[in-house]
């Protein structure tokens, strides 16, 4: 069950919701690496990127990509559309602990949100959020469970 419909016509041009957050794949629903940075002084990873380290205040951070996979630390199913949100409920917000990076929050997609469990493995993919005025498919990073029974 897909809770967020894919765009009609997979040939539509892809556009990231915000530039520089992840590597844009050739097609929707392909894996993505989140682009963040890491503090050279204390090693703390950040996504999205920061100019100064939140942990030690150093301004010396280097860009890095993070693993495409992680596991669900916690999740909830949102059943009322928040102001400004482009995605129709119900949808699951998941907090994902990336295998080699920070903890990130995103939407779970290509799954039944009612069947998610804490500890499930997920793959980050670029998935449609909406279409823009020019007809491009606007995608963002979302979490797709690796297996769902």
């Amino acid at each position: 069950m897909t809770n967020i419909p894919a765009a009609a016509g997979s040939a539509a041009k892809l556009k990231p919701l915000r530039p520089g957050m992840f590597n844009l794949p050739a097609q929707a629903d392909m894996p993505v690496r989140l682009l963040g940075n890491r503090c050279r002084a204390c090693g703390e990873p950040f996504f999205p990127k920061r100019h100064y380290c939140a942990a030690c205040t150093s301004g010396d951070l280097e860009d890095t990509g993070f693993s495409e996979t992680g596991k669900i630390d916690t999740f909830t199913v949102v059943r009322q559309q928040p102001p400004g949100g482009a995605i129709a409920p119900p949808y699951a917000i998941v907090r994902v602990k990336l295998d080699d990076g920070p903890t990130v929050q995103t939407i779970a997609t290509n799954c039944d949100p009612e069947k998610l469990k804490i500890g499930d493995r997920v793959q980050l993919i670029a998935h449609r959020v909406m279409d823009d005025e020019a007809g491009a498919t606007v995608v963002s990073f979302m979490a797709q469970p690796v297996k769902q029974g």
């Binding site: 919701l17 915000r18 957050m21 703390e44 990873p45 996504f47 939140a54 942990a55 630390d73 916690t74 999740f75 909830t76 199913v77 949102v78 059943r79 009322q80 559309q81 928040p82 102001p83 400004g84 949100g85 482009a86 995605i87 409920p89 949808y91 917000i93 907090r95 602990k97 920070p102 903890t103 990130v104 929050q105 995103t106 939407i107 804490i118 959020v129 909406m130 963002s140």
Partner: protein
């Protein structure tokens, strides 16, 4: 620093008042607080005003309703913790001898529906990630996985809060609800149902404080002392995105509560009555743990066993809390101070804890980005 006392407090009833202005709400709360304290408005030397959604200079437009005496009126914003921030600033100015008497005011008129908590254009807003109940829900789901807790235990917070609100003539909701009604209400973000979300509310609250050495001419026989305080913004925790928000981060609450206890010379075991920021029902569970009133992981069970009831050993949100008294975000903190004042002066009527012998009151008021802890002694 000088000792500072609260001499009086007052509210405009919390609720939905489309025909009343901010001035109408604030004037009523200030009038009630002044009458309660015995301090005339002309003796007030400074006003600190907590407010969030009102426009530029709203503090002055409300306070000047009482008279244009030329005093400084300072607008303060820390989201849902705004009026405890205003209280703290007022307290510090009086404690440090800058002023002898100060007025704290909080007010708000809320729009219906979910609060917009992130900038319109942020990716979190567009993706539907900036959802306040979800912040509590994510913590609650993790809590249930880590501890022996159930959705019913969170729902019980709301049952208890509405039972207390039914005893409070200033509460938005003065009606009891059953646990079945709470669980059957519309699901907002699992496991939080509609009746476990604080409502949108209009309201105002005001508090009059005074240097203790100057209080004798008013009503010093009936007062409470500001015994401890702590405030801070969310401290970064490693590999942490989402928990870094001080509003739902119990580690942050513990850090600040320990500062406040140290200043007051007490421990959590000395607290007789507590007000916590239950914007959503899991808030009470997490916060009583963060404050050290119960052990980590024991909060849900403590609520379920009735320990946080008015008749329990750690009464919490005796006035109905945010869930039932209501949550006009700028006014909430000052309303918490008002309820602790009623409890410590033995004037809480049917909501009175410990047979009128409550000596220490504790407040936890959180807003996006920060937490205020206040300790009061009779």
């Amino acid at each position: 620093m000088r000792e500072v006392v609260v001499l009086g407090a007052g509210l405009h009833r919390f609720g939905r008042f489309p025909d009343l202005s901010l001035q109408d709400l604030g004037r009523e709360a200030i009038k009630n607080a002044l009458a309660d304290s015995g301090v005339p408005f002309k003796d007030i030397e400074v006003a600190y005003v907590g407010r969030v959604l009102a426009g530029m200079g709203a503090g002055l437009s409300v306070v000047s309703e009482m008279g244009q005496t030329g005093i400084p009126v300072i607008n303060i914003e820390m989201a849902c913790g705004s009026s405890t921030s205003a209280f703290r600033e007022a307290y510090l100015s009086v404690a440090n001898g800058v002023y002898d008497t100060a007025l704290v005011v909080g007010f708000e008129k809320m729009q219906r529906g979910m609060l917009q908590i992130s900038e319109q254009a942020s990716y979190q807003t567009v993706m539907g990630l900036a959802v306040m109940p979800a912040a509590y829900a994510l913590q609650a789901q993790r809590y249930m996985a880590d501890h022996e807790a159930t959705p019913e235990m969170f729902a019980q917070v709301s049952v208890k809060s509405h039972r207390n609100g039914a005893l409070n003539p200033y509460a938005q909701y003065q009606k009891e609800v059953t646990i079945e009604e709470v669980l059957a209400s519309r699901m907002i973000a699992d496991p939080i149902t509609l009746l476990q979300c604080s409502p949108t509310t209009d309201g105002a609250a005001a508090v009059v404080i005074c240097a203790k050495e100057k209080a004798a001419k008013y009503s010093a026989a009936r007062s409470m002392t500001v015994a401890g305080w702590a405030t801070g913004s969310g401290k970064f925790e490693s590999h942490d995105d989402g928990e870094g928000d001080a509003e739902t981060n119990t580690g942050e609450v513990t850090r600040l509560a320990n500062q406040a206890y140290a200043r007051a010379g007490i421990g959590p075991e000395d607290v007789d009555v507590t007000q916590v920021h239950d914007a959503f029902s899991p808030g009470e569970v997490f916060t009583i743990e963060g404050l050290g009133l119960v052990k980590a992981g024991a909060g849900a069970r403590a609520v379920w066993d009735g320990r946080t009831e008015i008749t329990g050993d750690i009464p919490v949100n005796t006035d109905g809390g945010l869930l039932s008294r209501g949550h006009p975000i700028g006014a909430t903190g000052a309303a918490m101070v008002t309820e602790i004042f009623r409890q410590l002066t033995g004037e809480a009527g049917p909501r009175q804890v410990k047979g009128g012998d409550a000596k220490v009151g504790l407040i936890h008021n959180a807003g996006i980005g920060g937490v205020n802890i206040l300790v009061f002694k009779r």
